[in-house]
Structure formats: C-alpha cells, structure tokens
C-alpha cells in the first residue's frame, strides 16, 4: 500500500466506508454474575481490608439510598436520587485512587464519596439543607461536596464538570503533584458538547485525568442505544480522541478496580488521559421525581437484578471466606440503625442563618448585597409569621 508522506497515512485507491463495526470494543469482566472469578483473569491489587472497605461502602450506600427514598416519600426531604445497581462502578473506581486525587462527580456517585470518608452525618446534613451542611443548604439534595476529601461539589448542569476535570488535572500536572482527577458522568451527559471539549483537550494536553463514564442504559427515560447515540456506546469515542480507552463490566467491582488502578498508573506516571466506560444499569428510577414503569419493562429490570453488583461481590467475599451471610446481614442492620439515627438528628438541626443568603456570591458581599439583605431582614421583621424558618433567628 502506498503512503502519503505529509500525513503519514496509507493510501487506498478504492473507496470504502467504515462504520461502527470497524471498531468493536470488548468488556473487561473478572467476576462472573455468580460471583466466581473467570479462570485466568488477572486480578486487581487488593487485600482483605480493601475488599472489606469496598463491600462495607456498597452496603452502606444500598441502605442509605433505600432509607432516603423512603424519607422522601414521607415528605421529610424534597428529593433524592439513588445509585441502585451502580455501586460497584463508583466504589470500585474510587478504591483505585489515592486520597489526594480529585474526584468530580455527576450526582450518582455517593459511593465514591462514602468511600472517601464522608460520614453519614455529613450526608444527612446536606440532604436536609441544614445549618451544618457544608454547602450551606444552597443546593438540592445529593449535591454533595467536600474540599477536605477532594470531592468537588456536584453541579446540576450536565457535562460541565468534564472539561473542568481536564483543567484541574492540568494544574495537578503543572504542580507535579503526583495526583490525578477522576471524573464521572453518565452516557447521557456524554452527548453534551462539554464532553467533546474535555476529551479532546485532555488528549492535546496529556493530563492525568480519568474520564469514567457510567453507561447505565438510560438518561431519565431516554434509552442509550439508538436514542442517545447511534454507534457502539462511548468507548470508541475515546479511541477517536487518541485517549487510552477501556470498557469494563460496571457491575463487577474487581473489573472496575483493576481497570481504574491501571488507568491511574497511566494518568499519573505517563500523563496519559484515560476513558473508562463502565457498562451497568440504573436499577432505580432516575430520581424520586421519576417513575420508570412509563418507559421500560419489568422484564428488563428483572434481567438486570440478576447482575446485582452487591450480590455479586457478596458471593465472592463469602467464597473467599472473608464474610458470612450472617455478618452481611448484621452489618446491614447496623447501617440501617446508623442511617436512621443520623436522619433523626439532622432533621432537627435548624436552617442556615439568613445571613448566608448573601455570603459566597463573592469572596466578600458587595455593598449592594449588604443593602439588599438589610432590606430583606427589615421585611422579615415586619412579617415574622410569613418567614418562620428564619424570623426566629434574625439578629
């Protein structure tokens, strides 16, 4: 075949069109659905303590999600969003990182945050928008964030965190920090222009970033295949950008852990940005505002229940002799109690002070803002009954 020297490309003389079939990307799996290891599979680095921490976090998130959906139904919180079925994806990936690595999430990665050490009280304070919420009660439930834990505050507009991750990782590289940024997003968010910008820029700048796409089959009601995209998912795009790319079974925590451990090495040691596509399924509704029976079948959901990542890991742990059914069950009960206790405590914490309304717009409130707040306070004093949440605590 001839070669074009300018572009260093092979020359062909017969027109032929490629399509998605030109690039098929397989999926890494280490644990089969029944929790047994594939023979000969290369395992991630782990020890019993790490496995236990991952499993513990999975159980915690399962309970937290369950309890908070119930709390929302009872009207105790306004909104909730579960990660049911996707715990392995966020927890397995977070477990591959170092604490100094930055995590930027979309909103369904409570598992990663819990793994980092966000306490049940901290979760509750955010969910109840109370005075102890690190976010000062300003955002809807599940918009967690914590500087101490290197977990960037969640932002609702989809995809925006992806180019931010590229920028953050650029700073980490320049600082020779030895750290990377891991950025989560859904396959729906991968349709946003920001996704394209982010991956292309990461490829150009060679920064230590891991793009972690949770492909859970849906964006609210929109199925991924054929309505979100026409090709073979998200991973082939990574190849197009020239990123290191891998696809994993997102319900297999060992596959996720292994891929992310290798990705972190590529990122931190070679400044190679990586795209990981984790194939999974959103078992719950999109959020408490959603009812998936309107757009998908019971059978489909049932099929996926058999792939439950928690059950899969549990079988593996039991096989390993690192867990018994009874322990698993009693751990669950403990977690339930802890969540309930924290919930009751958090809902009694008062709302943030009205003064917080104008703080943090800028580093210092402007004169105009101070005047606006004063006017508002005067108004509240006049009609204390109309603003019961704050009128009692106004100075």
């Amino acid at each position: 075949m001839a070669k074009d020297t300018k572009h260093n490309i092979d020359i062909v003389t017969e027109a032929s069109f490629l399509d998605a079939s030109a690039l098929t990307i397989p999926m890494l799996q280490i644990l089969k659905e029944d929790g047994s290891e594939h023979k000969g599979a290369k395992l991630p680095e782990f020890d019993q303590a790490l496995a236990e921490k991952m499993f513990d976090t999975m159980q915690f998130i399962r309970i937290l999600d369950e309890r908070m959906i119930a709390a929302q139904r009872q009207g105790r919180i306004s909104f909730y969003l579960a990660s049911l079925g996707e715990e392995a994806a966020s927890i397995g990936s977070a477990a591959a990182l170092q604490d100094g690595d930055m995590i930027m999430g979309q909103y369904r990665e409570q598992g990663a945050l819990a793994y980092r050490g966000f306490s049940v009280e901290q979760f509750m304070n955010q969910l109840f928008s109370n005075a102890k919420d690190l976010g000062k009660g300003r955002q809807m439930p599940v918009h967690y964030g914590c500087a101490e834990l290197n977990f960037m505050t969640i932002s609702s507009p989809l995809g925006t965190q992806i180019p931010q991750a590229t920028g953050y990782a650029f700073g980490q590289k320049m600082d020779k920090s030895g750290h990377c940024t891991l950025c989560y997003f859904g396959e729906g968010a991968a349709s946003e222009g920001d996704f394209h910008a982010a991956l292309n820029m990461a490829s150009v700048y060679k920064v230590p970033v891991i793009f972690f796409c949770r492909n859970n089959g849906y964006a609210i009601s929109t199925p991924s295949q054929g309505e979100q995209y026409g090709g073979d998912g998200i991973a082939p795009r990574g190849v197009g950008y020239g990123l290191k790319t891998i696809r994993v079974d997102g319900n297999d925590i060992l596959a996720v852990l292994r891929a992310t451990q290798l990705a972190r090495k590529l990122a931190v040691e070679e400044n190679e940005p990586v795209l990981i596509e984790a194939m999974s399924y959103r078992m719950a509704g999109h959020s408490t505002s959603d009812d998936p029976t309107g757009y998908r079948s019971r059978e489909e959901e049932d099929g996926w229940r058999k792939k439950d990542p928690l059950a899969r890991m549990q079988s593996w742990m039991i096989n390993k002799g690192w867990l018994t059914e009874e322990q698993a069950e009693s751990n669950l009960q403990e977690k339930k109690a802890a969540v309930l206790a924290a919930l009751k405590k958090a809902e009694k914490v008062p709302a943030p002070s009205i003064d917080e309304l104008i703080n943090d717009v800028y580093d210092q409130p402007s004169e105009q803002l101070k005047a606006q707040l004063d006017e508002l306070k005067a108004h509240i004093r006049k009609y204390p009954d109309a603003y019961p949440k704050t009128s009692g605590s106004i100075d």
């Binding site: 928008s129 609702s156 009601s221 943030p352 402007s366 105009q368 803002l369 006049k382 109309a386």
Partner: protein, 325 residues
C-alpha cells in the same frame, strides 16, 4: 370550554398545531413517548408518531442547532429545553444564530418556524438549577420574540401564536403554575397577540406590572392594597420582546406610579429595561420612583427560597412605599 391546568393547555396547543400542519415537529430531552419530565408532550407520539414527537440526545446546543436547521428548511420546529436553567449551552445557537438568521442573510433564509419552549422560574424547591428566570438574558437580543403566559387560557392562545408566528419565539412556561390550578380554556383553536400586554384589571392610583407567575403575586398584593383604599391597575406584560411600551406608558401616565415585580435577580433584569424606558416616557407624570421588586442578586437559593422569593407581601410593601413617597 374545558377546565385545563397550564400543562394541559400547552399540551392541547401542541396537539392542535400538530393536527393542523404536518410540518410541526416537537422534540427535546425525554419529550418522546414519555412525554417530557413534566408531561407537556404526552400523547403526541401516540397521535402523530415517533417521527413528529421524539426524544433528542442530551445536548441543548444540538437541540437548538438542529431546530434552527429544521426551521430554516421550512418546518415548524417546537423544541423543548427541559429546564430554563439548561438553556445556556444553547445560548450561542439562540443569540448568534436564531436571532440573526434572517437579518444576516438579507431575508434569503429565516428560522421563523422555530419555537423554543422551556419551563422556568422558582417556587418548587429546585435550588440554583431548577428555578432560574432567564428572560433578561435573552431580552438584549434583537430578532427574538419572548413570551410567557400567566394562566392556562393565555398559555394556549400564546403558544399557538408563537408556533405559527413567522419569527423565532422563546416561550417561557412558568412551571410552578403547571398544575397549580385550572382555568377555562376553549377547546378549539384560538390565538392571542404577541407583543401586546394585557390589562388584567383597571385602576387609577398605581400600576402593577409583571409577567408569568408573578402576575398572580401582583393580584394578591393588589387585593391587600385595595383594602387600604389603593386602586391598582394590573398589567400582564405577556411579551417581553418586543414589549408593549405603549400600554404600560399609557397606564403610568394615568396612575403616575409603577411597581414591577420580577422573580429574577435585580441587576439588569427585564424590570430594569421597563423602568429605564418608562422614566423617560412618563417623566413629568411620575409621582414616585419606579419600584422594582425582585430577587436578590444571588444565585437562586434552596433553603432560603421563601425569603428570596418575591411574594405578595413584598409587593404590597412596595405599593405602600410608592403611595407614601
């Protein structure tokens, strides 16, 4: 006549438009079979097929880019942006493309068939990103029309006008009214004029101006004020671009006083434009400064939403301050 809530009125307008002209297409995130997260488009796929009411991938700039192209081809493209807060990725397509399409081409091409629908505004515990009122961001853009209804009757008539108007229209749907109450709505097709304000109630002491869901707030405030013997003229602006200077100015020339209530933050909100224009048009007739009762200059908050919100009490206070100036 039927009883409809605002969502039903919108759904009904879409239904009528699609039945009337088979070049009307409706699309957006989750707007296909599922009918959108608020269900404004529900039933349309069943009636008109998956080709005319469909889901888009999750990309607002693409939705409006696609819609611009489709409208320029001669179709009526009715694009939904799931929340007004998520319209900003499409800002370039709207401000640089939609708005300038006809002008830049010397009328060789236009996107007059485009309508962008989006739920907007607060009052639903949505925090920063499910509560914004973005009208002012667009109001600085010649070439766009911007419309918002205050009730189901207005919603249907204005939306039908918007869809078939020969200019691109941004149609803002006050989402806290979606299911708040029902009103009488004719079942057949009818239209209401774009660019014209609606005098909801005549009065002589002071003019109260608002658009969308704030109209209700003004009505409530006016009730309180009337008990104090203050006669309020209530105007629903309806169209933000182009806006009806004449009707507003006429009212203020009569009353000498103007209170504008606006959900969005104060600075450079649309109330500012109104105040700037009316202080000029009615300079010698103004008996007190034009008052803007607005959100604070902060991102729309969650836990202090009630305090942030422009409620009837705040408007009532502004009325009194204006009367006692």
């Amino acid at each position: 006549m039927a009883k409809m809530n605002l969502l039903q009125a919108i759904n009904n307008a879409l239904d009528i438009a699609m039945a009337k002209n088979d070049k009307v297409y409706s699309f957006g995130e989750d707007t296909g079979g599922f009918g959108g997260v608020f269900r404004a488009t529900s039933g349309l796929t069943e009636k008109y097929g998956r080709q005319r009411n469909f889901n888009t991938p999750l990309v607002e700039q693409g939705i409006i880019g696609f819609a611009n192209g489709l409208a320029s081809q001669g179709s009526y493209a009715v694009a939904e942006i799931q929340f007004g807060d998520y319209i900003f990725p499409a800002f370039d397509q709207i401000v640089n493309e939609t708005a300038k399409f006809r002008y830049r081409s010397g009328n060789e091409f236009n996107v007059g068939g485009l309508t962008i629908r989006t739920p907007y505004g607060g009052g639903i515990a949505g925090g920063h990103y499910h509560s914004q009122s973005p009208e002012a961001y667009f109001a600085h853009t010649p070439g766009l029309k911007i419309v918002t209804p205050r009730n189901p009757y207005q919603a249907k008539g204005l939306l039908l006008s918007a869809i078939f108007d020969n200019n691109p229209v941004l149609f803002l749907e006050p989402k806290r009214l979606y299911r708040a109450s029902t009103g009488d709505v004719p079942e057949e097709e009818y239209t209401l004029p774009l660019g014209k304000a609606d005098v909801v109630k005549e009065g002589k002491d002071i003019t109260l101006l608002a658009w969308g869901a704030q109209c209700e707030v003004n009505e409530k405030a006016a009730e309180m004020a009337e008990k104090d013997g203050i006669s309020c003229e209530i105007i629903d602006l309806r169209s933000i671009l182009p806006w009806d200077v004449e009707t507003v100015a006429k009212s203020v020339l009569k009353t000498g006083r103007l209170v504008i209530s606006q959900e969005a933050p104060l600075t450079n909100g649309f109330a500012s434009e109104i105040a700037a224009t009316i202080q000029k048009e009615c300079f010698l007739y103004l008996e007190s400064p034009i008052a803007r009762v607005t959100g604070l200059d902060v991102p729309y908050p969650l836990c202090h939403e009630k305090e942030y919100f422009v409620d009837h009490l705040k408007v009532y206070e502004a009325i009194k301050a204006s009367m006692n100036f």
